[in-house]
Symmetry: C2
Subunit: 179 residues, 2 copies
Amino acid sequence: MAIEYAILGLLSWRPFSGYELRKFFSESVALYWSGNSNQVYPTLVRLHKEGLVENEVRQRGNYPPSKVYSLTMAGEEALTGWVTAAPAVSQIRSTFLTQLAWADRLTSEELDSLLNHYQHELQLKLLMQRELIRRKPAEPARTSREVLLWKMIADHDCALYEAEVDWLGRLRQALVKEE
Amino acid sequence: MAIEYAILGLLSWRPFSGYELRKFFSESVALYWSGNSNQVYPTLVRLHKEGLVENEVRQRGNYPPSKVYSLTMAGEEALTGWVTAAPAVSQIRSTFLTQLAWADRLTSEELDSLLNHYQHELQLKLLMQRELIRRKPAEPARTSREVLLWKMIADHDCALYEAEVDWLGRLRQALVKEE
DNA sequence: GTAGTCATGTAAGACGTTACATGATTCT
DNA sequence: AGAATCATGTAACGTCTTACATGACTAC
């Protein structure tokens, strides 16, 4: 499970409560998880059982108490171990490709409209991603190298979306030639 | 669920048994599902209940009988409807990026080794993908346009892997400059 | 006789999602 | 008065995976 390491990573910066972790995930460009509670809270409980994190309950008057988690030594080691581990190439799973696989059922006009639609969606995603990056350079990185890494991580998705736009361009050209 | 449309799509070519569908999925480059039985058989039962497919039980002596499925008119329509529907851009989820997010814990040498490792993995994937495409142009497409579509679908993953190699190159260059 | 293929299906579990439950406080 | 935020957690469900159960036939 990768989210457990994302959590350990955030705790390596500073202590977080479950609520704060969820908020961070939901706003982060790089850490893609939605930040839903059903994933964060049980993971924290498990990490606690495994001795990788410890928590301090903070009472705030009549507020619900919050559990502020921080890394243990074992947690530090687990994080470093994972970061060093052999990286795996992630699988690409595009529903659109499955749609395209049977797009021969469509007329040339319908197919063109489908591709056009997808191109617009891609360009919209690209714009949104770039806007998110522009607005939110405020990840609390501590060294210039970490700033660079987070910048490149955010750039990664842009690079792939651009590659898809290019691919789509080649596909459309090939279709025009084919006619 | 996209696999249900992938199944409808295959059945639009010709009748398939569940076993044949699983085999097709497990060998296909474009249709990325593993072809595990727990996904294929229940889906066929559901599609049958919904009236999108019908089956004919084929008895073969003492062999286990096989259920050969084919599309109904409603199935044809459902497939066409889905192919025409608004395409969605798929989310990119790379565990490697999460690993990179806390790679500032590593020394320059360790980080370089991590990036090197990932680059090798990427290039291996690219080679494997290209080899799969070279070996297996035998998808039973019926029109030259469909041949083109399936070629571009197989090419899609290559294009993205190449983009990732480029991105990695930019990252490494930026890191060298940074030092 | 051992492994592989043909053929159906179930069990259990990893990972992710939305929606719900609860309850106080703070902002408009 | 109503909505948003702070803060925990559970329920239900969707998708996908590996592994198991069963049983006959086929090729080495």
